[in-house]
């Protein structure tokens, strides 16, 4: 048992801290759910990438630093503590990239990853459909084989970042009429500006176009944009969902920084007794999440996989994030209502946490059935 970091890791942390101190914009960028903010966040990704800080855990060949999981955690602690902007390419970096590392071809990695690292290509996800939410495997969008590729048709929805993104990835049905719904699905990448794609932005609760509906009408996708084998899409999508949800979707650094901001706010508001428990719980929760992640990272370094334990993690951080921001808005009292503050922006963002990446109800089913061994029942 050891919580101290090696001198080399501490040196890495210090280098990250120094770079961030010199480069993080002094004022928050405009909301990344607006056209103006999206563009500003894209430029920030380019600035990070210029000094190889955008994807530290990737191999150097694709723009990373070959950083270990521990160094990634340290980088994230420094990144969020420095008040650096949100990451506009999170979908690509935390969902698509791990899939490419595990199932993609060398050609796909060489073509897709470098422009992802620089923010030149921003990725949206295309999982959900109007009739396929938690029951994702029941999805109906089709990919029909054609000369040199596939023709996509159907409708995707709740597609995060799609209002302004360049490309998207998701699952499509390539072999209908198989006995089970998760059979015959294929993992594909496609261009959001290709002929046949219509993007209709959707306003989230505060009116900002944070996601979109995608209407696809015989959109051509070349064979080289299929990830893995056709028909294997479900297994590919679920394997990375497990790994990445476990460790990289939300880093502890983010919540340690949020908790510190909340503590400062509490002090600024005169340390009222009413918020004492909420503020303490935010600090404790961030520490718990940090240590839980260190334990998971240690097991990962020992060669163990994370698996269904990632569901514990997802429920914890998503509910924690909302509670923290509710405490902040209550502390702000009447000043908690205006929508043009950083706190309200983050609050609205936090509300989606229990819904995406597998609802918390689905996660609790996974915890009960796969970690506790309870019998399967009706959803």
């Amino acid at each position: 048992m050891d919580l101290t970091h090696s001198p080399a890791d501490e040196e890495f942390r210090a280098e990250a801290r120094a770079w961030l101190r010199a480069h993080v914009p002094p004022d928050p960028l405009p909301s990344l759910e607006t056209a103006e903010g999206f563009a500003a966040h894209r430029m920030w990704e380019a600035e990070l990438a210029a000094d190889r800080w955008s994807v530290v855990n990737w191999p150097t060949a694709y723009g990373g630093r070959d950083a270990t999981l521990v160094r990634w955690l340290l980088f994230e602690e420094e990144y969020w503590a420095a008040g650096a902007p949100g990451r506009v390419n999170q979908n690509g970096v935390s969902l698509l990239a791990p899939t490419l590392f595990e199932y993609g071809t060398r050609e796909q990695r060489a073509r897709v990853l470098p422009p992802m690292a620089t923010g030149e290509v921003i990725w949206a996800q295309a999982w959900s459909e109007p009739e396929a939410g938690s029951d994702l495997a029941s999805l109906r969008s089709r990919a029909v084989s054609t000369d040199g590729g596939w023709l996509l048709s159907g409708q995707k929805t709740w597609s995060s970042r799609a209002a302004f993104a360049d490309r998207a990835f998701g699952l499509f049905r390539t072999a209908p009429d198989l006995p089970k719904p998760h059979q015959g699905l294929t993992y594909l990448m496609f261009d959001l500006r290709a002929p046949g794609v219509t993007v209709r932005p959707l306003a989230r609760l505060d009116g900002k176009p944070a996601f979109a509906e995608l209407f696809l009408d015989e959109v051509f996708v070349p064979d080289e944009d299929v990830i893995g084998e056709p028909g294997q899409g479900w297994r590919i999508a679920m394997s990375t969902a497990g790994n990445e949800r476990g460790l990289m979707l939300r880093s502890p650094g983010r919540f340690l920084a949020s908790a510190d901001r909340l503590l400062n706010l509490w002090h600024t508001q005169g340390s009222p007794e009413s918020a004492r428990a909420g503020v303490a719980d935010a600090l404790i929760g961030a520490r718990a999440y940090q240590l839980f992640t260190y334990a998971a990272a240690s097991r990962f370094l020992d060669g163990e996989s994370i698996g269904p334990e990632s569901s514990l993690n997802k429920v914890f951080w998503s509910e924690y994030d909302i509670a923290l921001h509710e405490t902040a808005l209550d502390l702000l009292a009447a000043e908690g209502e205006p929508a043009d503050t950083d706190w309200s922006e983050r609050y609205v963002f936090s509300l989606a946490g229990p819904l995406y990446a597998g609802t918390n109800e689905i996660q609790r089913d996974i915890i009960a059935e796969r970690l506790l061994g309870l019998p399967k029942g009706r959803r």
């Binding site: 970091h5 503020v279 404790i284 240690s298 009960a368 970690l371 506790l372 309870l374």
Partner: protein, 321 residues
């Protein structure tokens, strides 16, 4: 950075677990609750043989410590088996005595505590001491100093029948006029947190087993989503308390220890509520063994620092996270 128990630490947990399983601990607890201490004392000696009480005692006083990580690992097992007696108090007394400026009392009292020949209790943050009638070394921390109390007053029952609450008699030998207390309080809270976590884990295990077997409406009640989700929430609470307990054992900072105490105790208590609800009326009976853990979860929650007191300590400013 390697935040995992090593093989030796896991072996300590396993050997305690096997020993406590073989000892039919529930029947020992019930006898202890009736004031019959013979089998409880025998179990105490067996626990001492594994070195548990020596872990809080420095080597200079015939101990093996201080080794707070191993102590936390051991107390999780003691909690998992709901072992009765002033366990936390003995460890706390050891830390308190070891920290006195005058080594005299430590030299005289610690070897017996480390060896399990003595059982200590102390009155400090509460007006009574735990199991004062069973303890052989009774310490009273008063505004005038630390005393070796000459005896105890009448026994009051606790919400946990396995705990008895006794005021300590005033006077006795003054061991130290101004003992340092911070380290001892940290040990008290760490051990309580680990014990509570073990209590919570046992409650979860027993409830999972029960809902898999219990059938209603033609199906195991554990297949119903309302039941599953309560158990999933208990699992989440306990699994996020666990790293706080082990992290606190590593750093022993007051903020880490307070965070572990409030989180583990709240997780254990929430699990107790879930366990009671999902067992239904059978869980509300004293006869059914679940009660041994249900009542302890409530008692530990406020022992050695209520949730509110611990939250205040987290906010007090020495955090290093």
């Amino acid at each position: 950075m390697r935040f995992l128990l090593d093989a030796e630490q896991r072996a300590l947990a396993d050997s305690l677990d096997s020993m406590l399983t073989a000892a039919d601990t529930p029947s020992v607890i019930r006898e202890w609750s009736r004031g019959e201490h013979a089998r409880g004392r025998a179990l105490w000696s067996r626990i001492a043989e594994t070195g548990v009480f020596a872990l809080a005692v420095p080597e200079a006083y015939e101990g093996l410590g201080p080794r707070p990580v191993e102590l936390a690992v051991a107390f999780m097992e003691l909690g998992r088996h709901a072992v009765p007696g002033p366990l936390v108090e003995t460890v706390t007394a050891a830390a308190l005595l070891a920290g006195l400026p005058d080594p005299g009392p430590a030299k005289r009292l610690l070897p017996a505590l480390a060896a399990g020949e003595a059982m200590a209790t102390l009155a400090w943050t509460a007006p009574y001491a735990l199991d004062g009638e069973a303890a052989t070394t009774r310490l009273a921390l008063t505004p005038r100093g630390l005393y070796l109390s000459p005896g105890h007053g009448p026994v009051r029952p606790s919400l946990d029948p396995a705990r008895s609450l006794t005021p300590l008699d005033p006077g006795g030998e003054l061991l130290s006029p101004d003992p340092p207390t911070a380290q001892a309080l940290a040990y008290a809270r760490l051990a309580t947190a680990a014990q509570a976590l073990g209590v919570g884990l046992a409650l979860l295990d027993r409830t999972v087993t029960y809902v898999r077997q219990r059938t209603q409406f033609g199906a195991p009640v554990g297949s119903f989503q309302a039941v599953k989700h309560r158990l999933a929430d208990a699992k989440i609470a306990l699994e996020f308390a666990r790293p706080l307990v082990l992290g606190a054992a590593l750093t022993m900072t007051p903020a880490d220890v307070a965070a572990a105490k409030v989180t583990a105790c709240e997780a254990a208590y929430a699990t107790a509520r879930t366990a009671l609800q999902l067992h239904g009326a059978i869980g509300y009976t004293a006869e059914y063994d679940l009660s041994l853990w249900l009542t302890k979860a409530r008692a530990l929650r406020n022992a050695w620092g209520s949730p509110d007191v611990c939250r205040a300590d987290v906010l007090s400013g020495d955090r290093r996270w």
